[in-house]
């Protein structure tokens, strides 16, 4: 019953507003405040289910469409195609979801709530870190949904649980890296609609111009060249290896390096733009 303590009249207000609030400090403030803001992001997602559509319903529809519409034509039968496509769709899902991070941030910039955050004695990058941490929860949710749905549809993992966790981990790392790209984009164009539009222009070539849905053998040479250097292909290859068996190391290494480069380039850009313009 904490409310009894605050019944009107029982707590005398100090005559002068002195900074008398209790404060507790544990750990580095960016992480601590980031976690608080991540909590906000997660509560927000739970409270507005429409925000979960892009990480739940949308990938489910994608998976069903691809497997049952194109699967037979691409791989001969849908069961075999599912086995090929599911790891890739897992990657594609988080690529799409990471664009949502940018849209969400652009929306926040317009509500004025970032002004409030920035006028508080907290680290300037805490709101960005918080938003990204909250979105990692969304990505994980969608990844798990994909795996469960895939298994129901007949996808079979041929490796051990540790490999499955490693696959999810790799996908999360890649999503984390990508969402800095969309965060930087959000800070640059600031209009949620523009972020969405430009985001789609980045995501579609990145996901379809990869080996996520179709092996690259049938593509023209110039496209194969792109597909083979596209980090999405590398992540998809590594995840395939981790879930259904096959080589992992080379693809996973390339994917991790790509992720590190993306973070190294885009995180400073995003934070700088945010400090300057938000």
């Amino acid at each position: 019953m904490t409310t009894t303590a605050v019944a009107p009249g029982t707590t005398p207000r100090p005559p002068m507003p002195i900074p008398d609030i209790e404060r507790s400090r544990h750990g580095p403030s960016t992480i601590r405040h980031g976690l608080t803001l991540a909590w906000r992001g997660v509560v927000k997602t739970i409270h507005s289910p429409e925000a979960l559509i892009d990480v739940t319903l949308q990938p489910v529809i994608f998976l069903l469409l691809f497997v049952y519409v194109f699967g037979g034509a691409i791989a001969g039968n849908t069961t075999e195609y599912l086995q090929f496509a599911l790891p890739g769709v897992l990657v594609q899902t988080v690529v799409f979801a990471s664009a949502g991070t940018g849209v969400g941030l652009a929306e926040d910039l317009h509500t004025g709530i970032f002004d409030r955050f920035r006028s508080l004695p907290i680290s300037r990058s805490a709101p960005l870190v918080g938003a990204i941490m909250a979105d990692l929860v969304r990505y994980l949710t969608s990844g798990v949904i994909m795996l469960v749905l895939g298994t129901i549809l007949g996808f079979r993992m041929h490796t051990n649980p540790l490999n499955v966790i490693a696959a999810m981990g790799l996908v999360m790392v890649f999503a984390f890296a990508l969402c800095w790209v969309f965060t930087a984009l959000a800070m640059l164009v600031r209009q949620p609609r523009s972020v969405q539009g430009i985001g789609a222009m980045i995501m579609l070539p990145l996901t379809f111009g990869s080996n996520v849905f179709v092996p690259s053998d049938s593509m023209p040479g110039w496209l194969q060249a792109f597909v083979n250097v596209n980090p999405v292909s590398k992540v998809a290859d590594a995840v395939r290896g981790l879930l259904t068996g096959g080589p992992v190391a080379a693809a996973a290494t390339t994917a991790l390096i790509a992720a590190a480069v993306v973070v190294a380039v885009f995180a400073p850009i995003a934070v700088t733009l945010y400090r300057k313009r938000a």
């Binding site: 002068m16 008398d20 609030i21 803001l37 906000r40 507005s48 002004d115 409030r116």
Partner: protein, 325 residues
């Protein structure tokens, strides 16, 4: 240390538009400083600089002795900000919004809950505390926004047009809260384009136009600067307006201003004007509904200082802003 907010020669440009062209102002502890001006005059830019959201191009601003550019963290620890747009999260409940800010201020969970409940109560949001802000009315959002800026018991509170878009009842509620805060020792800087609101609330006023301070002082001294009293006459029948106007013009050598409600106003330089005018209206058989002397309103102040009404200034500023954007 009586001076809480001190600003000297503040300048800020956006592209080629000069938003602030040398603003000076001072606010004393526990007072309300009204920053008055039309839209686009630089009020919001001033607040954003003082709240450490914008770096000024030139000039200096200190809050409780801390420089806003050199020591932003120290400044942020002492201020509360309520911007023009209610900066609350629509997807969270009222209580959760306040909890979020309290936790970001490093209050322990329990203390945060107590403080949030206290403010929810104080701002009359108890019935809606657990509802999502999306379902709140504009007035409720504003009150929650104000509550959020008070969580950390700031010494200085910036209110950027806190009553814009509120109906009169909610407007008065917000104004009452601001008065109570100042009485508690909080220094409030309030921007407004409502001259009447500044008049009611502010201890001191700074009038700005196109990024420049054009006048400052207490509301009473500003009015005195603009000139003495004004005579207001409202004939009972609107058809009598020309006749009343002719009499007033004859007495003062000045054409009276007629407003939309049918009230005529003229500067009252002669002390006996009220009496003389009353006699003339009687002689002419004109029925008068209202007749009296008044101090000039801040509308008159603005008109006298800038040679244009607040509304005209705003129209011009809006055009400038569009060009800048």
């Amino acid at each position: 240390m009586d001076t809480v907010i001190h600003v000297e020669g503040l300048e800020k440009s956006f592209g080629t538009t000069k938003a602030l062209a040398g603003v000076d102002l001072t606010a004393r502890r526990g007072t309300v400083l009204g920053l008055l001006g039309p839209n686009g005059s630089g009020k919001t830019t001033t607040v954003r600089v003082l709240a450490t959201l914008l770096r000024p191009d030139a000039g200096r601003a200190t809050i409780l002795g801390h420089d806003v550019v050199a020591e932003p963290a120290a400044v942020r620890a002492r201020i509360g900000l309520t911007g023009q747009y209610a900066a609350v999260d629509e997807a969270l409940s009222g209580t959760d919004n306040l909890m979020l800010i309290a936790r970001l201020l490093d209050m322990p969970r329990r203390a945060a809950r107590v403080r949030a409940a206290e403010l929810i109560e104080r701002f009359g949001l108890a019935d809606a505390a657990t509802r999502r802000v999306r379902t709140y009315s504009g007035g409720m959002r504003r009150r929650l926004d104000l509550a959020a800026s008070l969580i950390g018991r700031p010494d200085v509170l910036f209110l950027d047009e806190p009553t814009t878009g509120l109906d009169p009842r909610h407007r008065n509620e917000v104004l009452d809260q601001v008065r109570a805060l100042a009485a508690d020792g909080v220094t409030v800087l309030l921007t407004t384009q409502y001259l009447e609101e500044a008049d009611q609330l502010a201890d001191d006023l700074v009038v700005i136009d196109t990024g420049r301070v054009i006048a400052s002082g207490t509301p009473a001294s500003l009015k005195a600067d603009v000139g003495g009293q004004r005579l207001h006459v409202r004939p009972l029948h609107r058809t009598d307006i020309p006749a009343v106007s002719t009499i007033l013009a004859g007495l003062t050598d000045e054409a009276p201003v007629v407003d939309a409600s049918g009230e005529l106003t003229v500067a009252a330089h002669e002390p006996g004007l009220l009496h003389v005018a009353g006699g003339r209206f009687d002689e002419a058989g004109l029925a008068i509904a209202e007749l009296g002397l008044r101090l000039p309103s801040l509308d008159d102040v603005f008109m006298t200082l800038t040679g244009r009404t607040a509304e005209d200034a705003e129209k011009q500023a809006t055009t400038d802003e569009e060009v800048a954007a």
